[in-house]
């Protein structure tokens, strides 16, 4: 119950902030602002005072070289600094007079809100897993698991027995570290992303795109002749159908990881949007009449809490689906080999 409420105050603060500028609450803009990446960690606003944590800006430009400074130098996008300016949370190069300079290319490698939170999640994940591994090493295999081991061990055995083994057969051991890393990397970022006020890391397309690229690379490394044979010369179909099938099959190689990317991105983003929409309803009603806003608050919170529980479920399900589908695609990549061995046996 506390979480959506906290979210609400956050939202309210933001709404106040927005009203201070435009006197009108724009739900769509506010929601998109919340799920988008940012160069500062904005906690809440009291009156005219913003409580934010500035994050380091790292910009590389072929013409100007590398620049590193705090995002507080931009002063909420009002001021240009070292020839760069923040425009709609996007860093653009400006000339001496403060106008946008299109000729200078700026590559933004800043530690944004998402990057910062992801790095925290990574540290947390490494700390959790290595401390558990230490316990395993110290106790050996004759001691029953205890404490947090009991929470992690079933997940690991689940990934091994229900994701890796059925899809990858006898080769599963080779892929276990990758599958486990993907699963826990997505899971911990999903869960931390659910904390109110936190960044929407797994709902960012760059994050899911990177994971999709890695799974694409892993799938490509796992392919064998049989796999390519099926793509460039699908067996058992007439010649003309082959001509149609070859581009389709070729496209499917890229569509598979792309589907992984969009699925995770869309699921996490949609969940955040739904929760934020329910919270925004309070302010939309509040703008019509203060009483309506207060009156709708319980309904809004009830719906938010409901979606929140679903989101917790989705956090696990999406991590599982991403890992499972990656395992399925890897399994398909060396499927033929498996069949050959089955015949040989």
């Amino acid at each position: 119950m506390a979480q959506p409420k906290e979210h609400e105050t956050h939202e309210q603060a933001n709404a106040d902030h927005k009203e201070g500028h435009s006197e009108k609450f724009n739900a769509g803009e506010s929601i998109l602002h919340h799920i988008a990446d940012s160069h500062e960690f904005h906690f809440f606003t009291l009156g005219e005072k913003h409580f934010t944590m500035p994050l380091p800006v790292i910009v590389y430009s072929p013409q100007r070289g590398l620049s590193m400074f705090s995002s507080s130098k931009f002063e909420e996008g009002e001021v240009a600094y070292e020839g760069y300016k923040l425009e709609h949370d996007k860093i653009v190069a400006v000339d001496a007079s403060g106008n946008v300079d299109e000729s200078v290319k700026a590559y933004d490698f800043s530690i944004t809100k998402n990057v910062f939170q992801m790095l925290l999640a990574v540290i947390l994940l490494i700390w959790i897993m290595t401390s558990i591994a230490k316990k395993y090493k110290a106790q050996g295999h004759n001691v029953a698991p205890s404490g947090f081991q009991n929470a992690v061990e079933p997940v690991i055995t689940f990934v091994r027995d229900d994701v890796a083994k059925p899809n990858l057969g006898h080769k599963y051991e080779k892929y276990m570290p990758y599958l486990l890393t993907v699963f826990f990397f997505i899971l911990i970022n999903n869960i931390i992303g659910l904390i109110p006020g936190s960044a929407n890391v797994t709902g960012n397309i760059a994050f899911t795109a990177l994971l999709a690229v890695i799974s694409f690379i892993v799938i490509m490394i796992s392919t064998n002749g049989h796999f390519w044979g099926h793509i460039f010369w699908p067996p058992g179909v007439p010649f003309l159908v082959k001509l149609i099938l070859i581009p389709v099959e070729l496209l499917s190689i890229f569509i598979k990881p792309a589907a992984l990317m969009i699925r995770l991105f869309a699921n996490m983003t949609a969940g955040h949007i739904v929760i934020l929409s329910f919270v925004s309803l309070i302010f939309i009603f509040g703008q019509m009449a203060t009483v309506a806003g207060w009156g709708f608050t319980p309904v809004s919170i009830a719906f938010s809490v409901f979606i929140y529980f679903i989101e917790i479920l989705v956090a696990f399900i999406q991590a599982f689906i991403f890992t499972n589908l990656t395992a399925v695609f890897i399994g398909q990549a060396f499927e033929g080999e498996h069949h050959d061995e089955a015949h040989a046996h």
């Binding site: 988008a36 990574v122 490494i126 295999h141 570290p177 890393t181 397309i205 760059a206 994971l211």
Partner: protein
């Protein structure tokens, strides 16, 4: 749509973070955890197999024990039976022997008795013969003296003999 455009910076940092996580966890987490898990699973499977084997061995030993017990019982009853038979035989033999011994003693005694009786009879016959000769001598001597007296004397002797 800014939402659908992957940001280069975040993409880059995710790549760095993922590679770091993958390498660290692969070496320091997944490897020890997975080896321990498989070792434990193997250990459990082995333990179950051992327990099964021990159970089978126990069952086998139990049946062997029962067979041994049955055999021992059989042997015991056989021994008892044998002993009873031996006792009966010994008693019987002793009885037979005693009977034979007794019969022999009785036979010996009878033989001795007969012998002595015969001896006594011989002596008696000799005695009678002597007496008869004595009497005949005396009679002959009297006959030569006095006839009536002889007769009287014979009579008297005869009476004496009767009295004897």
């Amino acid at each position: 749509m800014q939402l659908l455009m992957p940001a280069l910076g975040f993409f880059f940092w995710t790549l760095v973070a993922f590679i770091i996580v993958f390498l660290i966890l692969k070496k320091f987490a997944w490897k020890p955890i997975l080896t321990t898990l498989s070792a434990r699973e193997k250990n459990i499977a082995d333990s179950i197999a051992t327990a099964e084997r021990v159970k089978n061995e126990m069952a086998q030993m139990k049946s062997e024990n029962e067979a041994l017990m049955a055999q021992a019982r059989e042997e015991r009853s056989a021994l008892l039976k044998e002993a009873r038979e031996a006792k009966d035989r010994i008693v019987h033999e002793a009885k037979e022997q005693a009977k034979a011994e007794a019969a022999k003693i009785v036979a010996d005694a009878q033989a001795v008795i007969n012998q002595q009786k015969m001896a006594t009879l011989v002596e008696l016959k000799n005695q009678v013969g002597v007496l008869v000769l004595d009497v005949a001598e005396k009679v002959l001597r009297k006959e030569l003296g006095n006839k009536p007296e002889q007769e009287q004397y014979i009579q008297q002797l005869a009476n004496d003999i009767k009295l004897n």
